[in-house]
Protein backbone atom coordinates (compact mmCIF):
# COMPACT_ATOMS: atom_id res chain seq x y z
CA UNK A 1 0.00 0.00 0.00
CA UNK A 2 1.22 3.54 -0.80
CA UNK A 3 1.69 6.33 1.72
CA UNK A 4 -1.09 8.93 1.70
CA UNK A 5 -1.18 12.57 2.78
CA UNK A 6 -3.78 15.25 3.41
CA UNK A 7 -3.02 18.22 1.16
CA UNK A 8 -6.09 20.42 1.60
CA UNK A 9 -8.81 21.13 4.15
CA UNK A 10 -12.08 23.05 4.23
CA UNK A 11 -14.92 23.48 6.68
CA UNK A 12 -18.08 25.55 7.02
CA UNK A 13 -19.09 27.10 10.27
CA UNK A 14 -21.03 24.58 12.38
CA UNK A 15 -24.33 25.58 13.94
CA UNK A 16 -28.00 26.27 13.29
CA UNK A 17 -27.52 27.61 9.79
CA UNK A 18 -31.09 28.48 8.85
CA UNK A 19 -30.04 30.42 5.74
CA UNK A 20 -27.91 27.64 4.27
CA UNK A 21 -29.17 24.55 2.43
CA UNK A 22 -27.60 21.09 2.47
CA UNK A 23 -26.00 21.70 -0.91
CA UNK A 24 -24.78 25.21 0.03
CA UNK A 25 -22.85 23.63 2.90
CA UNK A 26 -20.96 20.92 1.08
CA UNK A 27 -20.15 23.19 -1.86
CA UNK A 28 -18.58 25.71 0.54
CA UNK A 29 -16.54 23.07 2.39
CA UNK A 30 -15.46 21.30 -0.81
CA UNK A 31 -14.43 24.50 -2.60
CA UNK A 32 -12.39 25.64 0.44
CA UNK A 33 -10.58 22.30 0.55
CA UNK A 34 -9.84 22.36 -3.18
CA UNK A 35 -8.59 25.97 -2.99
CA UNK A 36 -6.48 25.13 0.05
CA UNK A 37 -4.82 22.26 -1.85
CA UNK A 38 -4.38 24.10 -5.13
CA UNK A 39 -5.59 21.14 -7.20
CA UNK A 40 -7.71 21.48 -10.33
CA UNK A 41 -11.08 19.75 -10.75
CA UNK A 42 -9.63 17.64 -13.56
CA UNK A 43 -7.19 16.07 -11.11
CA UNK A 44 -9.90 14.67 -8.80
CA UNK A 45 -10.16 10.92 -9.30
CA UNK A 46 -13.07 10.29 -6.95
CA UNK A 47 -15.16 11.60 -4.10
CA UNK A 48 -16.38 9.97 -0.88
CA UNK A 49 -19.02 11.63 1.24
CA UNK A 50 -20.08 10.78 4.77
CA UNK A 51 -23.76 11.43 5.42
CA UNK A 52 -25.84 9.67 8.03
CA UNK A 53 -29.41 10.46 7.17
CA UNK A 54 -30.11 12.74 4.24
CA UNK A 55 -33.30 10.73 3.83
CA UNK A 56 -34.65 11.74 7.22
CA UNK A 57 -33.11 15.19 7.61
CA UNK A 58 -33.65 16.67 4.13
CA UNK A 59 -35.61 13.87 2.41
CA UNK A 60 -32.75 13.40 -0.02
CA UNK A 61 -30.94 10.18 -0.88
CA UNK A 62 -28.44 9.72 -3.72
CA UNK A 63 -26.16 12.15 -1.92
CA UNK A 64 -23.09 11.15 -3.98
CA UNK A 65 -24.63 12.31 -7.23
CA UNK A 66 -26.00 15.50 -5.68
CA UNK A 67 -22.64 16.49 -4.26
CA UNK A 68 -20.67 15.67 -7.41
CA UNK A 69 -23.22 17.62 -9.44
CA UNK A 70 -23.32 20.78 -7.32
CA UNK A 71 -19.56 20.70 -6.75
CA UNK A 72 -19.31 21.02 -10.55
CA UNK A 73 -17.76 17.58 -10.93
CA UNK A 74 -20.60 15.63 -12.57
CA UNK A 75 -21.80 17.18 -15.80
CA UNK A 76 -18.46 17.42 -17.62
CA UNK A 77 -15.94 15.51 -15.50
CA UNK A 78 -18.26 12.71 -14.34
CA UNK A 79 -16.18 12.15 -11.19
CA UNK A 80 -17.34 9.02 -9.31
CA UNK A 81 -18.96 9.88 -5.97
CA UNK A 82 -19.81 7.40 -3.22
CA UNK A 83 -21.88 8.03 -0.12
CA UNK A 84 -20.63 6.28 3.00
CA UNK A 85 -22.86 5.65 6.02
CA UNK A 86 -21.99 4.41 9.50
CA UNK A 87 -24.28 6.64 11.58
CA UNK A 88 -22.16 9.23 13.43
CA UNK A 89 -18.96 7.62 12.10
CA UNK A 90 -19.95 8.27 8.46
CA UNK A 91 -17.39 11.05 8.05
CA UNK A 92 -14.48 9.09 9.49
CA UNK A 93 -15.40 6.17 7.31
CA UNK A 94 -15.57 8.37 4.19
CA UNK A 95 -12.05 9.57 5.00
CA UNK A 96 -10.92 5.99 5.43
CA UNK A 97 -12.39 4.98 2.06
CA UNK A 98 -10.69 7.92 0.37
CA UNK A 99 -7.34 7.02 1.94
CA UNK A 100 -7.70 3.36 0.94
CA UNK A 101 -8.52 4.25 -2.66
CA UNK A 102 -5.30 6.27 -2.89
CA UNK A 103 -3.22 3.79 -0.87
CA UNK A 104 -4.31 0.99 -3.19
CA UNK A 105 -2.91 2.85 -6.17
CA UNK A 106 -6.28 3.05 -7.90
CA UNK A 107 -6.60 6.82 -7.39
CA UNK A 108 -4.07 9.64 -6.91
CA UNK A 109 -6.21 12.48 -5.59
CA UNK A 110 -9.51 11.96 -3.79
CA UNK A 111 -11.84 14.22 -1.85
CA UNK A 112 -13.33 13.02 1.42
CA UNK A 113 -16.25 15.11 2.57
CA UNK A 114 -18.94 14.95 5.21
CA UNK A 115 -22.19 16.86 5.42
CA UNK A 116 -25.35 16.92 7.51
CA UNK A 117 -28.23 19.38 7.58
CA UNK A 118 -30.16 18.57 10.75
CA UNK A 119 -32.17 21.70 11.56
CA UNK A 120 -34.63 21.52 8.67
CA UNK A 121 -36.69 19.08 10.79
CA UNK A 122 -38.10 19.46 14.30
CA UNK A 123 -36.30 18.22 17.38
CA UNK A 124 -38.53 15.13 17.67
CA UNK A 125 -37.77 14.00 14.10
CA UNK A 126 -34.05 14.71 14.56
CA UNK A 127 -33.97 12.70 17.78
CA UNK A 128 -35.77 9.82 16.12
CA UNK A 129 -33.44 9.89 13.09
CA UNK A 130 -30.44 9.70 15.43
CA UNK A 131 -32.07 6.83 17.34
CA UNK A 132 -31.79 4.84 14.10
CA UNK A 133 -28.08 4.46 14.89
CA UNK A 134 -29.10 2.04 17.66
CA UNK A 135 -31.02 -1.22 17.24
CA UNK A 136 -34.48 0.03 16.35
CA UNK A 137 -36.27 -3.22 17.10
CA UNK A 138 -34.69 -4.05 20.46
CA UNK A 139 -33.53 -0.70 21.85
CA UNK A 140 -35.55 2.05 20.14
CA UNK A 141 -38.95 0.39 20.45
CA UNK A 142 -38.29 -0.27 24.13
CA UNK A 143 -38.06 3.49 24.67
CA UNK A 144 -34.29 3.97 24.39
CA UNK A 145 -32.95 7.30 23.14
CA UNK A 146 -29.30 8.02 22.37
CA UNK A 147 -28.81 10.09 25.50
CA UNK A 148 -30.52 7.22 27.35
CA UNK A 149 -28.00 4.65 26.11
CA UNK A 150 -25.00 6.80 27.03
CA UNK A 151 -26.69 7.61 30.36
CA UNK A 152 -26.66 3.88 31.13
CA UNK A 153 -22.93 3.78 30.32
CA UNK A 154 -22.43 6.78 32.63
CA UNK A 155 -24.45 5.25 35.47
CA UNK A 156 -22.37 2.07 35.45
CA UNK A 157 -19.09 4.00 35.08
CA UNK A 158 -20.04 5.98 38.18
CA UNK A 159 -21.01 2.81 40.04
CA UNK A 160 -17.84 0.88 39.15
CA UNK A 161 -15.22 3.63 39.25
CA UNK A 162 -16.68 6.41 41.38
CA UNK A 163 -16.88 8.82 38.45
CA UNK A 164 -18.92 11.91 39.39
CA UNK A 165 -21.31 14.23 37.55
CA UNK A 166 -18.78 17.00 38.19
CA UNK A 167 -16.07 14.99 36.42
CA UNK A 168 -18.36 14.46 33.42
CA UNK A 169 -19.21 18.17 33.43
CA UNK A 170 -15.48 18.99 33.39
CA UNK A 171 -15.26 17.52 29.87
CA UNK A 172 -18.03 19.83 28.70
CA UNK A 173 -16.47 22.88 30.39
CA UNK A 174 -13.07 22.11 28.80
CA UNK A 175 -14.60 21.60 25.36
CA UNK A 176 -16.55 24.86 25.58
CA UNK A 177 -13.32 26.64 26.52
CA UNK A 178 -11.57 25.16 23.46
CA UNK A 179 -14.58 26.13 21.33
CA UNK A 180 -14.14 29.79 22.25
CA UNK A 181 -10.89 29.70 20.26
CA UNK A 182 -12.32 27.95 17.18
CA UNK A 183 -13.91 30.25 14.58
CA UNK A 184 -16.12 27.46 13.17
CA UNK A 185 -17.48 26.29 16.55
CA UNK A 186 -21.23 26.30 17.17
CA UNK A 187 -20.77 27.43 20.78
CA UNK A 188 -18.03 29.93 21.60
CA UNK A 189 -18.93 30.73 25.17
CA UNK A 190 -17.33 29.65 28.43
CA UNK A 191 -19.48 27.60 30.80
CA UNK A 192 -18.97 26.37 34.36
CA UNK A 193 -19.56 23.07 36.13
CA UNK A 194 -22.76 24.60 37.52
CA UNK A 195 -23.98 25.43 34.00
CA UNK A 196 -23.90 21.72 33.25
CA UNK A 197 -25.31 20.50 36.56
CA UNK A 198 -28.12 23.09 36.54
CA UNK A 199 -29.21 22.33 32.96
CA UNK A 200 -32.26 20.15 32.28
CA UNK A 201 -31.93 16.44 32.89
CA UNK A 202 -32.19 14.64 29.54
CA UNK A 203 -31.53 11.08 30.68
CA UNK A 204 -30.34 10.72 34.27
CA UNK A 205 -27.40 11.24 34.97
CA UNK A 206 -26.82 13.18 31.73
CA UNK A 207 -27.87 16.84 31.61
CA UNK A 208 -28.43 18.86 28.47
CA UNK A 209 -24.89 20.26 28.71
CA UNK A 210 -23.52 16.71 28.76
CA UNK A 211 -24.95 16.26 25.25
CA UNK A 212 -23.65 17.41 21.87
CA UNK A 213 -26.06 19.63 19.92
CA UNK A 214 -28.08 19.26 16.73
CA UNK A 215 -26.02 21.01 14.05
CA UNK A 216 -25.65 21.85 10.39
CA UNK A 217 -22.27 21.79 8.75
CA UNK A 218 -19.89 20.30 6.26
CA UNK A 219 -16.18 19.61 6.07
CA UNK A 220 -13.84 18.26 3.41
CA UNK A 221 -10.24 17.16 2.98
CA UNK A 222 -8.19 16.44 -0.13
CA UNK A 223 -6.02 13.32 0.13
CA UNK A 224 -3.24 12.47 -2.28
CA UNK A 225 -0.48 9.95 -2.80
CA UNK A 226 2.39 11.02 -0.51
CA UNK A 227 4.82 11.00 -3.43
CA UNK A 228 3.01 13.86 -5.16
CA UNK A 229 1.87 15.73 -2.02
CA UNK A 230 4.80 18.19 -1.97
CA UNK A 231 3.79 19.37 -5.47
CA UNK A 232 0.74 20.95 -3.85
CA UNK A 233 1.76 21.94 -0.35
CA UNK A 234 4.87 22.51 1.76
CA UNK A 235 3.12 21.00 4.77
CA UNK A 236 1.45 17.72 3.86
CA UNK A 237 0.02 15.82 6.81
CA UNK A 238 0.77 12.14 6.48
CA UNK A 239 -1.64 9.32 7.28
CA UNK A 240 0.18 6.87 9.57
CA UNK A 241 -2.84 4.68 10.27
CA UNK A 242 -6.44 4.23 9.16
CA UNK A 243 -8.38 1.57 11.04
CA UNK A 244 -11.92 0.55 11.74
CA UNK A 245 -13.65 -1.95 14.01
CA UNK A 246 -17.21 -3.15 14.44
CA UNK A 247 -18.93 -3.79 17.77
CA UNK A 248 -22.41 -5.07 18.63
CA UNK A 249 -25.06 -2.61 17.50
CA UNK A 250 -26.89 -2.93 20.84
CA UNK A 251 -25.32 -1.63 24.02
CA UNK A 252 -26.84 -4.51 26.01
CA UNK A 253 -24.77 -7.08 24.09
CA UNK A 254 -21.37 -5.69 25.23
CA UNK A 255 -19.26 -7.77 27.60
CA UNK A 256 -18.58 -4.56 29.57
CA UNK A 257 -21.11 -1.74 29.20
CA UNK A 258 -18.47 0.89 30.10
CA UNK A 259 -16.06 -0.20 27.34
CA UNK A 260 -16.59 0.40 23.63
CA UNK A 261 -14.85 -2.71 22.27
CA UNK A 262 -14.79 -1.20 18.79
CA UNK A 263 -12.81 1.80 20.09
CA UNK A 264 -10.35 -0.45 21.90
CA UNK A 265 -9.75 -2.63 18.84
CA UNK A 266 -9.64 0.22 16.29
CA UNK A 267 -7.13 1.96 18.59
CA UNK A 268 -4.95 -1.12 18.97
CA UNK A 269 -5.00 -1.72 15.21
CA UNK A 270 -3.99 1.92 14.64
CA UNK A 271 -1.05 1.77 17.07
CA UNK A 272 0.11 -1.42 15.37
CA UNK A 273 -0.26 0.02 11.86
CA UNK A 274 1.67 3.17 12.80
CA UNK A 275 4.23 1.34 14.94
CA UNK A 276 3.33 3.65 17.82
CA UNK A 277 1.98 3.62 21.37
CA UNK A 278 -0.36 6.08 23.13
CA UNK A 279 2.77 7.89 24.40
CA UNK A 280 3.62 8.86 20.82
CA UNK A 281 0.34 10.75 20.34
CA UNK A 282 0.50 14.50 21.05
CA UNK A 283 -3.23 15.23 20.84
CA UNK A 284 -6.49 13.49 20.04
CA UNK A 285 -9.92 14.42 18.69
CA UNK A 286 -12.35 11.94 20.26
CA UNK A 287 -16.04 11.32 19.69
CA UNK A 288 -17.64 13.17 22.62
CA UNK A 289 -21.28 12.89 21.55
CA UNK A 290 -21.84 12.89 25.33
CA UNK A 291 -19.39 13.77 28.10
CA UNK A 292 -19.26 10.13 29.21
CA UNK A 293 -18.29 9.18 25.64
CA UNK A 294 -15.15 11.33 25.95
CA UNK A 295 -14.30 9.71 29.28
CA UNK A 296 -14.70 6.21 27.82
CA UNK A 297 -12.76 7.16 24.66
CA UNK A 298 -9.65 8.40 26.44
CA UNK A 299 -9.63 5.16 28.45
CA UNK A 300 -10.45 2.83 25.56
CA UNK A 301 -7.73 4.40 23.37
CA UNK A 302 -5.14 3.74 26.07
CA UNK A 303 -4.43 7.28 27.27
CA UNK A 304 -5.76 6.55 30.76
CA UNK A 305 -6.45 3.41 32.75
CA UNK A 306 -10.07 2.22 32.72
CA UNK A 307 -11.93 4.20 35.33
CA UNK A 308 -9.40 7.06 35.52
CA UNK A 309 -10.84 9.17 32.68
CA UNK A 310 -13.15 11.28 34.83
CA UNK A 311 -10.53 12.08 37.42
CA UNK A 312 -7.93 12.93 34.73
CA UNK A 313 -10.38 15.24 32.96
CA UNK A 314 -11.23 17.04 36.20
CA UNK A 315 -7.49 17.43 36.90
CA UNK A 316 -6.96 19.20 33.57
CA UNK A 317 -4.82 16.46 32.04
CA UNK A 318 -6.85 16.64 28.78
CA UNK A 319 -6.79 20.44 28.46
CA UNK A 320 -4.56 22.27 25.98
CA UNK A 321 -1.22 22.32 27.80
CA UNK A 322 -2.18 19.17 29.72
CA UNK A 323 -0.69 15.69 29.37
CA UNK A 324 -2.74 14.82 26.27
CA UNK A 325 -4.91 17.61 24.83
CA UNK A 326 -8.33 16.19 23.90
CA UNK A 327 -10.76 17.88 21.50
CA UNK A 328 -8.91 21.12 20.86
CA UNK A 329 -11.62 21.94 18.28
CA UNK A 330 -14.21 22.06 21.05
CA UNK A 331 -15.23 18.51 20.23
CA UNK A 332 -18.74 17.50 19.27
CA UNK A 333 -20.05 19.30 22.35
CA UNK A 334 -18.91 22.84 21.57
CA UNK A 335 -17.80 22.73 17.93
CA UNK A 336 -21.09 21.03 17.01
CA UNK A 337 -22.04 17.65 15.63
CA UNK A 338 -23.45 17.65 12.10
CA UNK A 339 -23.10 13.88 12.22
CA UNK A 340 -21.77 13.07 8.74
CA UNK A 341 -19.29 15.97 8.89
CA UNK A 342 -17.81 15.24 12.31
CA UNK A 343 -15.25 12.58 11.33
CA UNK A 344 -13.86 14.83 8.59
CA UNK A 345 -13.82 17.89 10.86
CA UNK A 346 -11.62 15.95 13.28
CA UNK A 347 -9.06 15.49 10.49
CA UNK A 348 -9.39 19.17 9.53
CA UNK A 349 -8.62 20.15 13.14
CA UNK A 350 -5.59 17.85 13.34
CA UNK A 351 -4.28 19.08 10.00
CA UNK A 352 -4.45 22.69 11.24
CA UNK A 353 -2.70 21.69 14.47
CA UNK A 354 0.03 19.70 12.70
CA UNK A 355 0.60 22.52 10.22
CA UNK A 356 0.91 24.86 13.20
CA UNK A 357 -1.97 27.09 12.03
CA UNK A 358 -4.51 26.47 14.81
CA UNK A 359 -4.19 29.97 16.25
CA UNK A 360 -4.99 30.46 19.92
CA UNK A 361 -5.76 26.78 20.44
CA UNK A 362 -2.45 25.60 18.93
CA UNK A 363 -0.85 22.68 20.78
CA UNK A 364 2.85 23.54 21.09
CA UNK A 365 5.08 21.21 19.10
CA UNK A 366 2.27 18.93 17.89
CA UNK A 367 3.82 16.29 15.63
CA UNK A 368 1.37 13.36 15.79
CA UNK A 369 -2.38 13.33 16.37
CA UNK A 370 -5.24 10.85 16.47
CA UNK A 371 -8.89 11.03 15.43
CA UNK A 372 -11.58 8.77 16.89
CA UNK A 373 -15.06 8.68 15.34
CA UNK A 374 -17.84 6.44 16.70
CA UNK A 375 -21.10 5.26 15.15
CA UNK A 376 -24.03 4.72 17.49
CA UNK A 377 -23.18 3.49 20.98
CA UNK A 378 -20.05 1.80 19.57
CA UNK A 379 -21.29 -0.33 16.67
CA UNK A 380 -18.53 1.24 14.56
CA UNK A 381 -15.29 2.98 15.49
CA UNK A 382 -12.87 4.59 13.04
CA UNK A 383 -9.41 5.75 14.10
CA UNK A 384 -6.76 7.69 12.18
CA UNK A 385 -3.24 8.66 13.17
CA UNK A 386 -1.84 11.68 11.33
CA UNK A 387 1.70 13.02 11.45
CA UNK A 388 3.83 15.92 10.22
CA UNK A 389 6.48 13.37 9.30
CA UNK A 390 6.23 10.73 6.63
Amino acid sequence: MRDVAIIGIGCTKFGELWDRSFRDLFVEAGVSAIEDSGIQGEEIDSLYVGNMSGGRFVEQEHIGSLIADYAGLASTLNVPATRVEAACASGGLALRQAILSVASGHDNIVIAAGAEKMTDVGMDTATDALAAAADREWEGIMGATFPGLYAMIARLHMHKYGTTSEQLAAASVKNHHNGTMNPIAQFRNEITIDTVLNSNMVADPLHMFDCSPISDGSSAVVVAAADIAKKYTDTPVYVKATTQASGTISLHDRADITTLDSSVVAGQRAYKMAGMTPDDIDMVEVHDCFTIAEICAIEDLGFFKKGDGGRATEAGETAIGGRIPVNTSGGLKACGHPVGATGIKQAVELTQQLRGTAGKRQVDGAEVGMTHNVGGSGGTAVVHILSRNR
Binding site: D124, T127, D128, A131, D135, E137, W138, E139, G140, I141, M142, G143, A144, T145, P147, G148, A151, M152, I153, R155, L156, H159, N200, M201, V202, A203, D204, P205, L206, S250, L251, H252, D253, I257
Partner: protein, 129 residues
Protein backbone atom coordinates in the same frame (compact mmCIF):
# COMPACT_ATOMS: atom_id res chain seq x y z
CA UNK B 1 -43.64 1.01 12.36
CA UNK B 2 -45.88 -0.96 10.04
CA UNK B 3 -48.26 -3.64 11.32
CA UNK B 4 -46.27 -6.44 9.67
CA UNK B 5 -42.93 -5.30 11.08
CA UNK B 6 -44.28 -5.39 14.64
CA UNK B 7 -46.51 -8.46 14.15
CA UNK B 8 -43.77 -10.79 12.95
CA UNK B 9 -41.87 -10.39 16.22
CA UNK B 10 -44.94 -10.71 18.47
CA UNK B 11 -43.99 -14.12 19.94
CA UNK B 12 -40.62 -12.70 20.98
CA UNK B 13 -41.98 -9.39 22.26
CA UNK B 14 -44.98 -10.81 24.13
CA UNK B 15 -43.51 -14.02 25.53
CA UNK B 16 -39.78 -13.33 25.76
CA UNK B 17 -38.97 -16.06 23.26
CA UNK B 18 -35.36 -15.87 22.12
CA UNK B 19 -33.01 -18.52 20.80
CA UNK B 20 -30.60 -21.13 22.12
CA UNK B 21 -27.55 -22.58 20.35
CA UNK B 22 -27.40 -26.29 21.21
CA UNK B 23 -23.80 -26.49 19.92
CA UNK B 24 -22.31 -24.12 22.51
CA UNK B 25 -25.31 -23.88 24.90
CA UNK B 26 -25.44 -20.06 24.64
CA UNK B 27 -28.81 -18.31 24.98
CA UNK B 28 -29.79 -15.26 22.93
CA UNK B 29 -32.29 -12.52 23.48
CA UNK B 30 -33.06 -10.67 21.27
CA UNK B 31 -33.26 -13.81 19.10
CA UNK B 32 -30.35 -14.55 16.75
CA UNK B 33 -30.38 -17.02 13.88
CA UNK B 34 -26.57 -16.98 13.65
CA UNK B 35 -24.61 -17.93 16.78
CA UNK B 36 -21.61 -15.56 17.12
CA UNK B 37 -19.62 -18.34 18.83
CA UNK B 38 -20.29 -21.20 16.41
CA UNK B 39 -21.45 -19.29 13.34
CA UNK B 40 -22.42 -21.91 10.68
CA UNK B 41 -21.76 -24.81 13.07
CA UNK B 42 -24.41 -23.52 15.46
CA UNK B 43 -27.75 -25.31 15.87
CA UNK B 44 -30.38 -22.74 16.78
CA UNK B 45 -33.71 -23.50 18.49
CA UNK B 46 -36.35 -21.21 20.02
CA UNK B 47 -36.07 -20.70 23.76
CA UNK B 48 -38.61 -19.19 26.15
CA UNK B 49 -36.89 -17.24 28.91
CA UNK B 50 -38.05 -17.37 32.52
CA UNK B 51 -38.24 -13.59 32.69
CA UNK B 52 -36.18 -13.17 35.85
CA UNK B 53 -33.04 -11.09 35.90
CA UNK B 54 -31.02 -8.27 37.39
CA UNK B 55 -30.52 -4.60 36.52
CA UNK B 56 -26.99 -4.09 35.10
CA UNK B 57 -27.42 -0.34 34.67
CA UNK B 58 -30.30 2.10 34.21
CA UNK B 59 -31.37 5.62 33.37
CA UNK B 60 -34.44 7.74 33.93
CA UNK B 61 -35.42 9.17 30.58
CA UNK B 62 -36.79 12.71 30.71
CA UNK B 63 -36.63 13.56 27.01
CA UNK B 64 -38.71 10.68 25.67
CA UNK B 65 -38.33 8.51 22.61
CA UNK B 66 -40.96 8.96 19.91
CA UNK B 67 -44.24 7.42 21.09
CA UNK B 68 -43.27 7.58 24.78
CA UNK B 69 -43.82 11.32 25.34
CA UNK B 70 -46.81 10.76 27.65
CA UNK B 71 -44.84 8.37 29.87
CA UNK B 72 -41.79 10.54 30.61
CA UNK B 73 -40.01 10.38 32.92
CA UNK B 74 -39.65 6.60 32.67
CA UNK B 75 -37.09 4.06 33.86
CA UNK B 76 -35.03 2.26 31.22
CA UNK B 77 -32.56 -0.48 32.10
CA UNK B 78 -30.23 -3.09 30.74
CA UNK B 79 -31.36 -6.32 32.36
CA UNK B 80 -29.26 -9.47 32.51
CA UNK B 81 -31.59 -12.45 32.38
CA UNK B 82 -30.82 -15.43 34.64
CA UNK B 83 -30.12 -17.55 31.53
CA UNK B 84 -27.28 -15.19 30.47
CA UNK B 85 -28.23 -12.67 27.81
CA UNK B 86 -28.94 -9.00 28.46
CA UNK B 87 -31.69 -6.87 26.96
CA UNK B 88 -32.98 -3.31 27.08
CA UNK B 89 -36.36 -2.74 28.74
CA UNK B 90 -38.41 -0.47 30.95
CA UNK B 91 -38.77 -1.07 34.67
CA UNK B 92 -42.16 -0.15 36.12
CA UNK B 93 -41.53 1.28 39.59
CA UNK B 94 -40.70 4.57 41.29
CA UNK B 95 -37.52 6.35 40.19
CA UNK B 96 -36.15 6.17 43.74
CA UNK B 97 -36.52 2.38 43.78
CA UNK B 98 -34.13 1.93 40.85
CA UNK B 99 -30.69 0.60 41.68
CA UNK B 100 -27.94 -1.42 40.04
CA UNK B 101 -28.22 -5.07 40.99
CA UNK B 102 -31.96 -5.00 41.76
CA UNK B 103 -33.84 -8.20 40.93
CA UNK B 104 -36.66 -7.87 38.40
CA UNK B 105 -39.17 -10.09 36.61
CA UNK B 106 -40.88 -9.63 33.27
CA UNK B 107 -44.51 -8.54 32.85
CA UNK B 108 -46.75 -8.10 29.80
CA UNK B 109 -47.48 -4.41 29.33
CA UNK B 110 -48.50 -1.79 26.83
CA UNK B 111 -45.28 -0.31 25.41
CA UNK B 112 -46.62 2.67 23.52
CA UNK B 113 -48.87 3.92 20.76
CA UNK B 114 -48.44 5.82 17.55
CA UNK B 115 -51.42 8.17 17.88
CA UNK B 116 -55.03 8.13 19.06
CA UNK B 117 -56.05 6.06 16.06
CA UNK B 118 -52.71 4.37 15.44
CA UNK B 119 -51.29 1.04 16.52
CA UNK B 120 -50.86 0.20 20.18
CA UNK B 121 -47.66 -1.67 20.91
CA UNK B 122 -47.61 -4.33 23.60
CA UNK B 123 -44.59 -6.17 24.87
CA UNK B 124 -42.40 -6.96 27.84
CA UNK B 125 -41.52 -4.62 30.68
CA UNK B 126 -40.07 -5.47 34.09
CA UNK B 127 -41.14 -4.95 37.71
CA UNK B 128 -39.12 -5.29 40.92
CA UNK B 129 -39.07 -8.92 42.11
Amino acid sequence: MTVARFWRKIPHRYNLIGTHCTTCDEHYFPPRQMCPNCRRDGEIEPHKFGGKGEVVTYTIIHTAAKGYEMQAPYNLAIIKLDEGPSLTGQVVCGQEEMEIGMKVRSVFRKLGEESEKGMIYYGTKFVPE
